[in-house]
Symmetry: C2
Amino acid sequence: MTEVISEGRIMRPSIATKGEPARLAGEVLDAAARVFARQGYEGTSIDDIADELGATKGRVYHYYRSKADILLDVLNKGQQDLVDIIRPLAEDTTLPADQRLLNMARAHAEVMMYQHPYQYVSLRSLNPNLFDGKTAQREGWRTIRKMREEYEELFRAVVEEGSEDGTFSTTNPRLTVRGILGSLNWITVWFHPDHQPQAKHVSKEEIAQTLAKFVVAGARG
Amino acid sequence: MTEVISEGRIMRPSIATKGEPARLAGEVLDAAARVFARQGYEGTSIDDIADELGATKGRVYHYYRSKADILLDVLNKGQQDLVDIIRPLAEDTTLPADQRLLNMARAHAEVMMYQHPYQYVSLRSLNPNLFDGKTAQREGWRTIRKMREEYEELFRAVVEEGSEDGTFSTTNPRLTVRGILGSLNWITVWFHPDHQPQAKHVSKEEIAQTLAKFVVAGARG
DNA sequence: GTCTATATGTGGATAGAC
DNA sequence: GTCTATCCACATATAGAC
């Protein structure tokens, strides 16, 4: 059977008849994302990832060539999932800018919580020096950066539109977008999917809605 | 001469007659903060810090017992500098809540930029698992956490006051504070003190003022 | 496909010369 | 006070058994 190596991850052609290999590779990736989120990339050993899987490193190295390749795949998935959900909302130009921004911000916030490990690791890895010495991953790293920039472009477009038609008050859309995404991305720092306190529990949807309204109000000025 | 060991750092009694030791310890700390900011704590070796100083590890280990102790001192200084500047603004109750919040937010934003390495490392180290295995630093780590909570309390107080007198529209002050601090803390992620582009240059003060207005507008709703 | 064993390099920390 | 030399633990990655 033919195999496709993509970003260091062994993948069968999209529709795997047996299904097993893709599922197992996904399990390795999920485990890695969780451990990276807990301990940081540099603070995580391959043995840690294997432990999280209840296996040994043999299993990890069967699916990935190196630790850096695993990280790259985590970043890829995190960014891809995010853009897949927000792009359609950004392109719905039937709505006025503020309503569209509200939808985008709310969805972004929800992804931060529902996909917490991936998004947390993704945001922590915005540091440009992370892949410095690793020439093998340079191309993959460039791709991630580009995806991230295109993603922020979606927000910049709607903020610019709103500031031109008077909905928003900003004179510096790029800076406003940074304010918006800062509020929303910061969720990954204080939100922990595991130990959700029961008393005074606020649902993910309420959190997302509240913060989305906060950033839209900030943009209105 | 008597020496005082504080958080793993060798310090002479406050007013050092010769002044040298404190200055040199501060140089080690500054270098460590810069390298931690570039490479992350786990990604930094003691040799890296020594290189940044133009020295060898002998120098570093003369002032600090361990790498974890250095980090603890970076976090301490980062948090202390921040609270020293913002607390007076928070306690100026002659101003209405929105004006006070504006001052606090602007000052917080400026500290993020002017003290970038310390603040960046500080925020990256909010991860509770960082000092997990390190029993020697547990007490110092608890202190940092407490300082951070007291600091956020300053913002919560002003937001609550404003939401009670109708200046702000929030029903969940804690969440609003997280939105506010997220926008401002995120500065450390995209702002890099070194390669400031000359063209279309926006000053630190302009950035701080713009984002401060953004978060106050967000709180107003 | 997953395991154990191991080669190899690196990092934190210490000892002791100067 | 700063250096060099060194110990020891651990991490990445590979080889090869099952």
